[in-house]
């Protein structure tokens, strides 16, 4: 087991959610759920993060932002789409400004459904992500002889 799985730092970004999932993500940090028990911190800075937690669907203006943040997260990294909007666009799927789920823009590793996703399922999703994180780490090391691994893009 690598240290990665014991200290996943998350970055939360609200793509275009209704806030429901966002406050549940935040609620995970607070005394009742206290994810810091698992070493999970909400860093707020992509450059320090391992897990990118996105809520809400992609719209015109945040498309570039999500891409930019994703690029600024150092490898290995995992994307967790929280809530049905992030997964597929949800109730807003038909809105003129919504492109759909986060996977339209960046590769998503874990989908956490729910409207709003409950803190329990968010934590569950993050724990799922840890496994993937470790896999990516292993893959990043392997082809070290050749070119550098590029991490998440291939998933």
């Amino acid at each position: 087991m690598t240290y990665l799985t014991r200290s996943p730092w998350i970055l939360h970004y609200d793509a275009s959610s209704c806030n429901g999932c966002d406050i549940e993500v935040l609620a995970c940090l607070t005394p009742l759920y206290d994810v810091e028990r698992f070493g999970i911190l909400n860093t707020g800075n992509p450059k320090h993060s391992d897990i990118f937690v996105v809520t809400g669907g992609v719209n015109e203006q945040n498309r570039e932002v999500i891409k930019n943040i994703y690029e600024q997260i150092p490898d290995p990294k995992v994307v967790v789409a929280v809530g049905i909007c992030a997964t597929s666009g949800g109730v807003f799927r038909e809105c003129y400004n919504i492109m759909g789920g986060i996977d339209r823009i960046i590769p998503v590793d874990v989908y956490v459904p729910g409207c709003a996703a409950r803190p329990e399922s968010i934590i569950d999703g993050i724990v799922k992500a840890l496994g993937i994180l470790e896999e990516k780490r292993a893959r990043m090391r392997q082809p070290d002889t050749g070119k550098k691994a590029t991490g998440g893009e291939t998933v």
Partner: protein, 359 residues
């Protein structure tokens, strides 16, 4: 040569759970100019009235915002009911009031936590959110959802709360109020908190009026606008006095919300006491024809749901004017000349709900 720093603040920023973007122009650490930019979570949900029949649209209205979702749903329903002249049973009105006030408490506690966080008081953040879980539990027990309740419908409410449960809820409130006053004490009387709030982000009463401030933002500056005074739902029966502070700074806005927490508890208590028995919904027949500006008091201020129907099952227009939208111009005013360290505090002092604002 100018000694200005131009930096982007947001859309992704740890202090803001939601994306708002400010271009900050600083001199040393003084904010010379702050230009807001929105649109990061604009979904365009108002157009969905053309896809959803008007009773279904409640779900969309509720998902305008995950924090005050109940009030959004209720305001929309209220608009349709007004257009269609539906007589909602009194028990439904009372239940709506109770859920509204629980939502308000949950929202204000959430805000208090974020606000504490914005001034770097992590412990207070944690404690506010811990207290909030109590409200979420009540909401979950009575509606089934923690943040999106889905318990309001056109013509009434979807589910009842048994009288036994109501009594239990009233009993629990006493303990809650005790914890609340401990928390309120820190927000209102702690020196280090006060040093970050008093005199920060001033908004005079005239400015508040000119820029269209509503809700606690306006009431913190002495503008007594509170839609609950119109007496929608059961507020008319319960009697209502708005909470007003005169300071006009972040402290006053914080104080308004803290005091509103107690007034909400009081309203819930009264509502539980006086709630009549009876039906919880009326049957809806026909389609809405006509228009109405349905107004309600959201935790952030006056919410306007404009509904316009033409007698078909689809509305012609739904327009949601959220309090955060009207509170943006005051925010721009407040930010000028503040310190960089005050920016998060001031931005949060209007309790921005970008999800609402951009729809």
């Amino acid at each position: 040569m100018s000694r200005q720093i131009v930096m982007p603040f947001g859309p992704q920023h740890p202090v803001l759970p939601e994306p708002i973007h400010l271009d900050l122009v600083l001199e040393d650490e003084t904010v010379v100019d702050a230009i807001p930019s929105i649109g990061y979570i604009h979904r365009g949900l108002e157009t969905l009235v053309t896809k959803r029949e008007f009773p279904e649209y409640v779900y969309i209205a509720e998902r305008t915002c995950g924090i005050c979702s109940f009030i959004h749903g209720m305001t929309y329903c209220q608009g349709i009911e007004q257009v269609m002249d539906l007589e909602v049973p009194p028990r439904a009105h009372y239940l709506r009031t109770i859920w509204s006030e629980y939502s308000r408490i949950h929202s204000h506690l959430l805000w208090l936590g974020l606000f504490a966080d914005s001034m770097g008081f992590e412990n207070l953040f944690m404690n506010s959110w811990r207290l909030r879980e109590f409200v979420l539990d009540v909401l979950e027990e009575t509606t089934g959802g923690r943040v999106i309740q889905g318990s309001c419908k056109v013509g009434g409410v979807r589910r009842d709360i048994s009288n036994g449960k109501l009594t239990a809820m009233a009993a629990d409130l006493a303990g809650f109020e005790q914890k609340l006053s401990d928390l309120a004490d820190v927000f209102l009387h702690d020196d280090s908190v006060k040093s970050r709030l008093v005199g920060v982000g001033n908004l005079s009463k005239t400015d508040a009026y000119d820029t269209g401030a509503v809700g606690p933002t306006g009431r913190g500056s002495g503008v007594a606008i509170d839609m609950r005074m119109t007496g929608y739902a059961a507020y008319g029966d319960l009697g209502f006095e708005p909470v007003v502070e005169k300071g006009g700074d972040c402290y006053a806005r914080c104080a308004v919300r803290v005091r509103e927490l107690f007034s909400s508890v009081e309203i819930i208590r009264m509502a539980i006491e006086r709630i009549p028995d009876g039906e919880i919904e009326v049957k809806v027949k026909g389609n809405p024809e006509g228009e109405y500006f349905s107004r309600a008091e959201q935790p952030r201020g006056e919410l306007v749901h404009y509904v316009k129907g033409d007698g078909t099952k689809h509305l012609v227009r739904s327009r949601i004017r959220t309090p955060t939208l009207t509170n943006v111009p005051p925010l721009v005013k407040m930010l000028q000349g503040c310190e960089l360290a005050d920016v998060p505090v001031i931005v949060l002092s209007i309790d921005p709900c970008i999800g609402c604002m951009e729809r």
